[in-house]
Symmetry: D2
Subunit: 386 residues, 4 copies
Amino acid sequence: MANWERKEIALRTTATGHVLTAPVFRCHGRSERPLAYIQANVHGGELQGNAAILALFDLLEKESPRGSIVLVPRVNPVSANQQVGDYVAGVYDFGSGQNFNRGYVNLTGPSRGSSACYVDVDAFAAVHRDATLSEIRDGFREALHGALGAVREGSGPWGIENRLEQSLAIQEMALDADVVLDLHTGDRAPRYLYAPAGATAATRAFGFPFVLEMPARFGGALDEATFAPWNDLSEAFRRLDRTDVRRFVDGFTVELGSMNAFSMAQGVEDARRIASALRYYGVLDGEPDEPPYRIVCCDVGDYRSIYAPAAGLVDQAISPGTPVRKGDLLARMVDPSRCTTMPPRSADAVIEVRAPEDGVVLLFHAFASIPKGARLLSMMTNVRQL
Amino acid sequence: MANWERKEIALRTTATGHVLTAPVFRCHGRSERPLAYIQANVHGGELQGNAAILALFDLLEKESPRGSIVLVPRVNPVSANQQVGDYVAGVYDFGSGQNFNRGYVNLTGPSRGSSACYVDVDAFAAVHRDATLSEIRDGFREALHGALGAVREGSGPWGIENRLEQSLAIQEMALDADVVLDLHTGDRAPRYLYAPAGATAATRAFGFPFVLEMPARFGGALDEATFAPWNDLSEAFRRLDRTDVRRFVDGFTVELGSMNAFSMAQGVEDARRIASALRYYGVLDGEPDEPPYRIVCCDVGDYRSIYAPAAGLVDQAISPGTPVRKGDLLARMVDPSRCTTMPPRSADAVIEVRAPEDGVVLLFHAFASIPKGARLLSMMTNVRQL
Amino acid sequence: MANWERKEIALRTTATGHVLTAPVFRCHGRSERPLAYIQANVHGGELQGNAAILALFDLLEKESPRGSIVLVPRVNPVSANQQVGDYVAGVYDFGSGQNFNRGYVNLTGPSRGSSACYVDVDAFAAVHRDATLSEIRDGFREALHGALGAVREGSGPWGIENRLEQSLAIQEMALDADVVLDLHTGDRAPRYLYAPAGATAATRAFGFPFVLEMPARFGGALDEATFAPWNDLSEAFRRLDRTDVRRFVDGFTVELGSMNAFSMAQGVEDARRIASALRYYGVLDGEPDEPPYRIVCCDVGDYRSIYAPAAGLVDQAISPGTPVRKGDLLARMVDPSRCTTMPPRSADAVIEVRAPEDGVVLLFHAFASIPKGARLLSMMTNVRQL
Amino acid sequence: MANWERKEIALRTTATGHVLTAPVFRCHGRSERPLAYIQANVHGGELQGNAAILALFDLLEKESPRGSIVLVPRVNPVSANQQVGDYVAGVYDFGSGQNFNRGYVNLTGPSRGSSACYVDVDAFAAVHRDATLSEIRDGFREALHGALGAVREGSGPWGIENRLEQSLAIQEMALDADVVLDLHTGDRAPRYLYAPAGATAATRAFGFPFVLEMPARFGGALDEATFAPWNDLSEAFRRLDRTDVRRFVDGFTVELGSMNAFSMAQGVEDARRIASALRYYGVLDGEPDEPPYRIVCCDVGDYRSIYAPAAGLVDQAISPGTPVRKGDLLARMVDPSRCTTMPPRSADAVIEVRAPEDGVVLLFHAFASIPKGARLLSMMTNVRQL
C-alpha cells in the first residue's frame, strides 16, 4: 500500500497576519519516480478539480502506484476567498490585478515575474554535450531549482512581492515532477485539455473530447512554465546535433467543465480519466484507456474569441461543445433599450452573433450580462481529429 | 391596438457625470386603469425578468389590453454594471452596502429610508369616513404621492442621497399602479412567488409551483412598499368599523428561476404566466389559467435558511424545488483539508447537511464554495397547498 | 503590577476553512471591576485605534489599574482583509452587504439581527422592584447574557449566520463591561466622540474637541447595543417609581481622526485621553484631565449630511473641524465635462457647495471623486458647548 | 486668441448599453504643430491632473499658443467609476484585471495587446534612406496610423476586446502629438516625472524635484508607447549610418503628488510647470523656467521597491520625498498580535524596515494596512543630479 504524507504550505499572509495555506498530500508509491504533480483550484471559482483529487484519494487506496504523486487541492486560498456578494471573483488577484495563472517564472529565459535568474540552455547543453540522459535530466532539474532559488533569494533586503512568492511556492513543488496537471475549469464549458504539441499519446490517454495544442512558448501559466524549459533544453541539444534529448517533462491544463460546478459523483469520472493519463506516464500501473470517441483538436492559435459586438444579455443559441458552420447562429445579444420604435418588439432588442468560421464553440463567458467588447465565447477553428 | 410611449428615467449619475438610465415602456390600453407596473432586474445578476418583459411586448402586440401597463426592463443599471471579474455582484450597492431591494420608503409609517414624511392612515380614515370607495382610493393615492414628494423635497439644501433618490424614482412609478410585479430570480431556484397574504386567487392565477405568503408588514422591499400602505388603510377603516375598504393594491415579487440564467424562449412561457395574472386583475381580457398542478405554499416566516455548519465546497444532494423529509441528505460540505488521517479518504472531507424538518428545499446559494455560516440553502417548512 | 492574559477569538471561518481571529488582551487590575472593554478597527480601514491600544499597553505597564480592562486591537480581520487594489474597503461586509457596526443584537427588544430573544425590562423591574442596586446590576447582566446565549443557540440545527456569529462574539465580551469604547475613525475628520446623552462628565473626561450626543435608542451599533438595555432598565424602574436605578453602563464610539491614518506617536496622545476617561470611570486611579478647550457638542439628530448636488471631483474649501456660517463656501464639485462653452474656463467646471446653516463641518467623504448624491460632508448644527 | 473645439470620445459601453465618454478639448494655436497631447486620470483614483488641465484652460485664455494642444481630463471613466465602498479602485480593470496603463500597443514590434500589426522600422528606414526629415516624420506617423488602424480592423468579424478598444481610442489621439504628457499621481508621493533618457533639457523644463529616467523600451504604458517607436526609427536609421534622424517625439508620465488628492489651487502651480515644458517644446512661446533647485534623478532600473517583510499596519518614519542613508529607519510594520509575551508591550508589535541602500524614498503604498509582501515603498537609488 502507498505511503502518504501531508503538510501545509503557506501561500500568503494577510494584512492581519493570518497565514493562508493549502494542504499538500504526497503519495509515495513503489518508487519515487515517475512523479506526478496535480493541483486544483488556482482560480478561486474553478472548483471541480478538488472533487477529482478527492476521488483520486479513494482510487489510490485501491491500487498502489508505481511512481509517486503530489496532490494539492484548494491550492489558492487567496483566490478562493476573494468573495464579493454571492460569487468568488477568482481569476485576478485583488491586490495586484494579476491573473493567478500568469505569474510563474520562466526558468530558461527572462520573464515578467523575474528577469534576473534563469538557466542558459545553450551553455548547459554545451557543458553536458556528452552526458548521459539521466545526468542531463538530473543536472537540468538541479539547475532549474538553482534558478528558482536565486529568484527567491535574489532580492535580499528588498524582499519579495507576495504574488511572486505565491507562484514560487507552487513552482518549487511542480518543478520536481515528470508530469504536471493543473486542474482548472472553463467559464461555461465541457471538459477539455490544453496539451503540449507533440504529446499526442498522452493527450489521448486523458480521453477528453476537446484538445487545444500549445506550442512550447512561455506565457506565464503553470503548464508552460513546466514544459517550456525542457523543450528549450531539447532544442539546445538539437542545435548541438544531439537529438536523443527529448522533452522530459510534460504539463497539462485540464479543464473540468464549468466554473462554479462541483460534484463528487462527477469527480469519480474525472479521476478515472486522470488515472488513465497517469498510467500512460507510468505513475500508475496498467494501460491507459482508449478514448471512447474521436477527439477534436486544434492549435491554441486557432482557438479564437468573439468579443461582444454590442452590450447586453446573452441568450445562448447553442451549448458549449457544439460544432458549428460558418454563419450559424451562436448567441443573441439582447438589450431592451434597443426597442426604440413603438410598439416595441422583442426582435428589436436582439443582435445576432453568427459563427465567423467553421469550428466548435467551446466556451461561453460565465455571466449572461456583458459589456460591449467582453469575450462572449471562444471557438476552435481549423479543427482536426487527434 | 394599444398605444405605446417610451421614455428614459435617470437612476444615478456616476462620479464622471454619466447618467445611468432605464427605459420605461408605457402601454395604454382601452382605459388607463387597472394599471399594472412591471419591472425587472433590480438585482443586477437576476436577468430573466427582462426576457419576460420582451415576450410581453410581443404578446401585447397580439392582444390589446383592457387596462394599462408600465414595463421597465433593466431597471437598475447601477447594479447591472457592478461587474467584478466574470460576475455581476448585483445585490448590494457598492457605494452604500444597501440591498437594492430594501431601500423603499414606508409611506404609512417611519422607515429607515426617510423617517419624516408619511401618511397617517387613521387621520386619513377619519376624514374620509363617509367618502365613496373611489374617493378613498384616489384621495389616498394622492396623499401617498404627497408623502413621497415630501421625502424628495424635504431635505432642501442638504440634498438627497443617491440610493434614496434611486428608490424614489422607482416608487413614484409603482405608486400609481393597481398591481406591481417585481421580477427577480432566486440564487439557484425554480420559479416561485412572494405573494401578499389573502391574495390567493391572484396568486393562483400566476400558476407558479411555489408560493411564499407575506404578512402586510413593511420591510423595505418594493412589494411590501406597494401593498403595506393600502393594507394599513384598510385596517384603519376597520378600526372605524368600516369594512368595505379592502386593500386596493397588490404587490408581488416574482422569482423567475436562477440568477444569471437568461433565455428568450423561456421568457415566452414566463410572460404567459404573468399575462394570466394580469387577466385576473383585469388589465388583460379573459380568464386566468387554472394552475396545472397543486401549488405548494408556506408563510414567509416558515421559509427558513440553513447556514453552512462548516466552510467548504457545496455538493448539492438534491435539486432546488425538491420536497424533503426531516433527516434527508440535502448537501455535502466538502473541504479536502479535513483529510488529516493518512491515507486520505474523500469521506473525511465531507460534512453532511440534513433537513432539520419536513419541507421543500427552494433555493441554494449561488456559489458552490462558501464560508462557514453563509446561507447554504433555504427551505419551505409547514407547507400547505394553495 | 497588573496581571495579563491573552487569547485569540475566532471571528469567521473562510471558504477554505481558515479561521480569522483577533487577539484579546485582558489586564486584571487590583479588582475585577469596574471593567472597561476597548476594541479597535471594526471597520477595516479605520486604523488609529490600534495605535491607541498599543500605547495603552505601555501606559498600563507604568500604572497598575484599579479595575480591569479588556483590549482587542484588530477586532475585525474579516473587514481588514477586504482589500481591493490599493485600499481596504472595510465598512460593508462583502458577503452580506451589512455595515460591520450595525449587526449587534438589541437585548431589550426585537432587532433586525435576531428578533426572538431579549429581556423584557418591565418584567425584570417588576420582579426586582425591591432588590438592591447590585442585585439589579448583576441580575440584569445575567439576564442579558441569557438572552445573548439564546440568540446563539436558538437556531438549533438551522445554524447561525456568520455575520451574526461575528457580532455575538464581540457583544459577549462587551456585555461584561461597565464602560465600552469602540475605537473608530471618521472618513476625513478630526477626533470626535459619539457619547450617550447624560454622560457629560465622562464625555468631558475624554477631552475630544467635538461630541455628538446620542439618545438611548438602539440602531445596531456597539455603543448603542451597550448602553440602550441599561437605559431601558432605568426607565422601566422609573415607570415603577423607583428612580435610583441609573443607567449603569456607558458606551462610546471614539473617532480617532481619519480613515487610513496610522501613527504610533499620535497613539500615545490618544491613549492619554482614553486613560483620562478610564480615570473618570474608576478603572484607573486619579482624576481625569480637564479639557484644554471648550468642547463643541450637538445632538446626533443635528449632525447632518450634505449629499453632493452634482457628480465630480471634490475640492475642499475648508478643513474638517472648521466652524462655518450659513452661506460659507464648503467645497467645490468639479467636473471638467461641464466646460461646454468655448474657450473652456475652469470656473465652468465648478459647482459650489455652501453651508445650509451655521455649524461645524466635521467630516468629508474619504475620496475626492464622488457620484451625485453621495455624502459629501457631515456637519454639526445647533452646536452648544459642553 | 486660440480657437477651441470640444468633442466627446467613447471609451466603453457598459452591460446596460450606457456609453462612458471623456471630453476632448482641442486648442488650435497659431499653427497646428508642434502638437501636445495631455491627458489626466487614466487611473481612476489619480485626480490632480484634472486640476492641472483646468488651470491650463485659464492659462491658455491669457496667452495664445504657438502650436496646438489636445487636453483630455477624466480620460478613463471606466476606472473612475470603479468605486467600492468609499474608494475608487482605479488601477486594475475589474473586467480584465489589466493595469489601465499597460494596454497600449507596441507599434514597432509585437506586443501583448496585439501581436499582428506593426511597422518594421528597418524596412521603413531602407525605403526612406534619402528622404528629408519632414518626409520621414510625416511618413512614419502615417505608417504608425496604418498599423494602429490595422490592429483595430484586423479582427474582422471576431470583434475587438473592450480593453484594447479603450487603449486604441487614446493611442490614436496621442499618436499625432509631438509631445505626450500623461498626468498621473503616485500612491503617497511628492511630484515627480518619468522621463525618457536623453531628454534632459525638456525634463529640466518641468522643474519637478524628482525624475526617473526610462530607457526606450516598450512596456505597455502610454509614455513608452509614444516615444519607443520613434526611438526605434532613429536607431534603424543609425544602423544605416544616417545619424540626423533623432527621436522626434517624447512622452512623459507626470506624477502630480498623491492619489486621491485634488486641489484647484495646487493645479495652478502644476499648470505653470507643465506650461514651462510646453515652452521648451515650442507649443507655447517663451523660455522654460529654470528649476529652482537641483533635480534628483535616477534610472528607472534603480528605482526599487521594498516589499513588506511582515503583515501589518504601516507607521511611516519619514515622508515620501526624503533622502535616506543605508540603515535609516523608513517605517514600522505594526501588528498587535505579535505581542505574545505578557505584559504586552508596543515594541513587541513592531518590525522595523530600514533602508537597504542610500537613496530617496519616493513613494509609500496608499493604504496603511498591508499584507506581507505588498509593496511598502519605492525608493530611488544611485541618484544623481540632473
